[in-house]
């Protein structure tokens, strides 16, 4: 049985499982609707880097407001599908302690054509960073600090436009 396409989990992320889940959903949809099957699957994996802002990172601690994060993943999917109805998405985000090198987020976007798959994948990671209620505390050589990025506002159209711009769409 395929894994869920949208999840917040304490378990290690398995990109392969997410790719399979997205492609299976896409093929199911293609069979049901007569639409084209996927010709491209773009993926993005975020990993814990060994340095940040000049600090030597030891590990990160992620937390999420899980029900809202899942609702946000659905919202981002709707934003993508409004522009590209043929794109199928999956988003997995890990929480808990993550050591250097471990994947914190995995995103997969499939589409009949590569431009939409690549653009959607890039858009999603930008939007996750803008509006997903997820936080990381960085434990580095010499201290620790909460990382604070964007003030989450899903209705901020300038932010969404910036994400589309970065997605080159």
């Amino acid at each position: 049985m395929a894994v869920s396409r949208f999840t917040i989990t304490r378990e290690p992320l398995i990109l392969r499982a997410l790719v399979e889940a997205v492609l299976e959903a896409h093929h199911d949809d293609a069979r049901a609707t007569g639409r084209p099957s996927p010709g491209a699957a773009a993926s993005f994996v975020g990993l814990v880097r060994n340095e940040n802002a000049g600090r030597r990172v030891l590990y990160l601690e992620y937390e999420a407001y899980e029900p809202l994060a899942l609702a946000v993943f659905e919202r981002i999917t709707n934003e993508v599908n409004k522009r590209w109805p043929e794109v199928v998405l999956g988003i997995h985000h890990r929480i808990g302690r993550l050591d250097v090198g471990q994947p914190s987020v995995a995103i997969v976007a499939s589409s009949p054509h590569r431009a939409e798959a690549s653009g959607a994948c890039r858009y999603v990671i930008e939007r996750v960073k803008q509006i997903a209620p997820i936080w990381k505390r960085e434990v580095f050589d010499g201290g620790e600090t909460w990382i604070e990025g964007a003030v989450a506002d899903p209705e901020d159209e300038a932010a969404a436009a910036e994400a589309w711009r970065r997605a080159c769409a």
């Binding site: 975020g46 809202l68 990671i125 960073k129 803008q130 209620p133 990382i147 990025g149 964007a150 506002d153």
Partner: protein, 85 residues
Amino acid sequence: MAASMRVTVRLFARLRDVVGETELVREIPPDATVADVWQALAVEWPAVAAYGASLSCAVNADYARMTARVEDGDEVAFLPPVSGG
């Protein structure tokens, strides 16, 4: 009829660290808004007040405006700037 309402307040990340609780239950007056819940929190924990300028909030796990009305039994969450990914 002016009975007070009870809401659950959820706090995350640095806000949770400042307050020292992940979850509080508080009585609020009828017709209170999310902003009223926040103000009461800032009175109780003055250190969180600085977050008022960079805050997001959610009611019942749905993003909401600070002006949104709160109902009895609601879960009100206050979110510092996010850093997922």
